[in-house]
């Protein structure tokens, strides 16, 4: 596996499946009374967050701590881009502190790649969301959740129909999910007004639909993206009402869904805009579970990037034994 996780493109098919399999094993830890493994004892993991994201940060923090790593939270909010310390100086500081892995969230697309490529530091770099580029661990946890429900006991997501709905243009979650879901054999449809699809989307391995009604009945997964209200001011859509009418997941559309189909959302949600409360809280919604799975998937990523060898059958047994203890 690559030393860094900057983009889903850093992963082969086998890598991606291995992460999901490892996450499935590690998920057992979360159910044990003592939620801790000694794997990363003595290793230092830094949460370098240039943007506020409490949920992603605590998810990574919990993952690292369950693997016994030392976790340093470095909140660099407000010091991003032109203000304050440069990314380079921050990286050199972290290197001097001996960081084995840096989990970076940054408002600028490509900032994790800069951190990884510039040889400012030697540790692994994990992208926890960069600008409008990618958010690979979110895609991994989404794939993990889908596989668990719809393809239990199988390696990948072959043949599943996934609709990704909303502001694809500005969504790092969408970019990572398109790449990963396609890699794992799912058929992805992007559902958005043309204003919220990037020019160049024609080259993506996806289908496009301009309304949720067209796809909701035949989808195995409906993944809603957060729509930011300020996009209206930039002329991406005329009004919240019009957006919601065409692209929102409301009660009527929920009824059109197959009974086994899943409702997903990476959070935080705008209830009443892209998703209605009854959809978010429905039996088909796995939104809360996505959060729980996030910890397992991030444990797997840290484990595989820092711990080295994959969980062999034997290791896995040891793990299971420990869990029993």
């Amino acid at each position: 596996m690559n030393r860094h996780l900057l983009s889903i493109n850093d992963l082969t098919y086998e890598d991606a499946v291995l992460i999901l399999d490892t996450a499935a094993e590690l998920a057992k830890i979360s159910d044990a009374p003592v939620k801790k493994l000694p794997t990363l004892r003595g290793r230092t993991v830094v949460n370098l967050f240039f943007e506020d994201s409490t949920r992603t940060r605590i998810s990574f923090e919990a993952a690292a701590k369950r693997l016994s790593a030392d976790v340093i939270n470095f909140s660099a909010k407000g010091s991003s881009l032109s203000k304050g310390e440069s990314l380079k100086d921050t990286a050199l500081t972290l290197q001097a502190m001996g960081a084995d892995a840096v989990i970076i969230r940054h408002g600028a697309s490509g900032a994790p790649a800069r951190l990884a490529d510039q040889q400012w530091m030697t540790g692994s770099v994990i992208n926890a969301g960069d600008g409008t580029h990618e958010h690979p661990t979110q895609a991994l946890l989404d794939a993990f959740t889908i596989r668990k429900h719809l393809r239990p006991g199988q390696k990948d997501l072959s043949g599943l129909k996934v609709a990704i709905v909303g502001d694809v243009l500005h969504s790092r979650v969408a970019r990572s999910n398109v790449l990963l879901l396609h890699k794992l054999g799912a058929i992805v449809t992007l559902v958005a007004p043309p204003t919220l699809l990037p020019v160049g989307v024609e080259s993506w391995p996806v289908e496009i639909a301009f309304g949720l009604d067209l796809v909701v009945a035949k989808s195995d997964v409906v993944m809603m993206l957060r729509i930011q209200r300020e996009r209206m001011a930039d002329l991406f859509f005329p009004s919240e009402r019009e957006y919601s009418r065409q692209f929102g997941l409301n009660g009527d559309r929920l009824k059109m869904m197959q009974p086994t189909a899943l409702v997903m959302h990476p959070g935080p949600m705008n209830r009443g805009l892209e998703i209605s409360a009854d959809s978010a809280d429905s039996l088909q919604s796995v939104i809360v579970e996505q959060v729980a799975n996030g910890v397992s998937v991030r444990m797997a990523v840290l484990y595989l990037l820092l711990g080295g060898s994959p969980l062999s059958a034997e290791n896995s047994k040891v793990l299971s034994d420990k869990v029993v203890i």
């Binding site: 940054h106 800069r114 160049g200 024609e202």
Partner: protein, 431 residues
């Protein structure tokens, strides 16, 4: 008066020519061995071409002397075979008054390595509103003929119309940075497949082409003279070709980096490839090369844009736009246009010396070798190659996208008004 004769050189047309320089002028042109008694410089095997002329240079003085100043920019120019460069007005303060253009002009004189011709701002502070005192700059000691808000587009069509009309008083020219600002808010790179993948905000080709089209029509309407800075798109080339076929007085430039590099380089997120206008795709590069070869694009201009290291050693979005290019321009044009057989050396001399001097109105520059002309001569060994090393740059800045690249054509000597300012690849100080 001492006389120096360059012997063994070959002109761009392929003819043997010995040139004798007396003082600042060419005093003798022979094919045979020259008169004994002269000092001799044997350059057998090298090409002798008129000193190159750049119409688009950022020298950063006054205001950003940590990136470049007139003297260091002049050194880079000489290293790259230029004997004339044109200082863009986006300095601090902006070159929008006779005072500032005269200051830049006199700094160029003081450096004494090449001609430094200031370009004046079109509008006050390059803000796109009120016209700057264009006539005062034209009548100043700097005798400015070209005006540009480069870095910013003259976006308001009425302001552009008035500027085009106003410069007709002295056969001036407006050099437009064609970029619709509304279509390029926060734009980071060419809009297309790569920007979609990288999540970087797109700078669409239409934002350039829409302004080119509008300004061509305005120029036709008021019968003035327009120069399009750094054309980057296939559509832009088409529009200019159409304008020329209609007899509209428009000229255009392309930069060396747009002739060679494409937007996929942004995949590294290394802002060394961040430039405005942005690197485009292969189809655009091919159209630019064709346009330069057939004369639709009149000239090569460097858009030499020095930035300090910290402006590029950062996130892509935080980085400054621009690349240095004076020292690599000739070699990149040789690589893209001559090695590919799209042009010959005569064409190169036209696009890099003769045509730019004509457009800029630089009477003593960009001339064929003739008795009595000022001796502005560049000696190039076309058969040697060199490897670009950013740390060896004469510029104060290091932001070349060509670091480590092997390029054809080594410039060994440059004569500026008869003075040997580059000697065996080394820049010699003041005259």
């Amino acid at each position: 008066m001492s006389k120096l004769t360059l012997i063994g050189g070959i002109t761009a047309a392929g003819q043997k020519l010995n040139i004798t320089i007396s003082g600042n002028k060419i005093s003798e042109l022979t094919i045979d061995t020259p008169v004994a008694g002269n000092e001799i410089l044997d350059i057998t095997g090298s090409l002798i071409i008129p000193g190159l002329v750049d119409l688009h240079t950022h020298l950063r003085e006054p205001g950003k002397e940590d990136a470049e100043n007139v003297e260091s920019g002049s050194r880079a120019a000489v290293k790259g075979g230029y004997t004339a460069i044109s200082a863009m007005p986006n300095t601090d303060p902006v070159a929008d008054t006779a005072g500032v253009v005269e200051q830049v002009f006199s700094l160029g004189k003081a450096a004494g390595l090449c001609d430094v011709f200031p370009i004046g701002a079109v509008t006050q502070g390059q803000r796109g509103g009120q016209l700057a005192e264009i006539l005062a700059m034209a009548q100043s000691a700097a005798k400015v003929r070209m005006f540009s808000d480069d870095g910013h587009c003259v976006f308001d069509p009425l302001v552009m119309r008035r500027a085009l009309e106003y410069v007709k008083m002295f056969d001036g020219v407006i050099a437009q940075h064609a970029q619709d600002p509304r279509l390029t808010i926060d734009a980071q790179m060419n809009e297309g497949e790569i920007s979609a993948k990288l999540g970087l905000k797109g700078w669409p080709a239409v934002a350039e082409e829409a302004i080119i089209a509008r300004d061509i029509l305005l120029t036709d309407h008021v019968q003035s003279r327009l120069h399009i800075c750094h054309v980057t798109t296939a559509g832009g080339v088409e529009l200019i070709r159409w304008a020329k076929s209609r007899g509209i007085n428009v000229t255009a430039e392309v930069t060396p980096h747009h002739l060679l590099l494409t937007d996929d380089l942004a995949e590294s997120y290394d802002p060394i490839y961040k430039v405005n206008p942005p690197l485009r795709n292969v189809r655009d590069v091919e159209a630019l090369r064709e346009g330069l070869a057939d004369g639709t694009i009149d000239i090569v201009a460097t858009d030499h844009a020095p930035h300090p290291t910290e402006s590029k050693e950062c996130e892509w979005q935080a980085a400054s736009f621009g690349m240095i290019g004076l020292e690599t321009a000739l070699s990149v044009v040789v690589k893209t246009m001559i090695s590919s057989k799209l042009m010959n050396w005569n064409d190169l001399v036209d696009r890099m010396a003769i045509a730019p001097a004509r457009i800029g109105g630089y009477a003593e520059q960009g001339k064929e070798f003739a008795l009595g002309n000022f001796a502005n001569i560049t000696v190039v060994n076309p058969n040697k190659t060199w490897i670009v090393n950013k740390d060896a740059s004469m510029s104060k800045s290091r932001n070349t996208p060509f670091h480590g690249l092997e390029l054809p054509g080594v410039i060994t000597d440059v004569f500026f008004n008869g003075a040997r300012v580059l000697q065996d690849e080394k820049v010699i100080g003041k005259i």
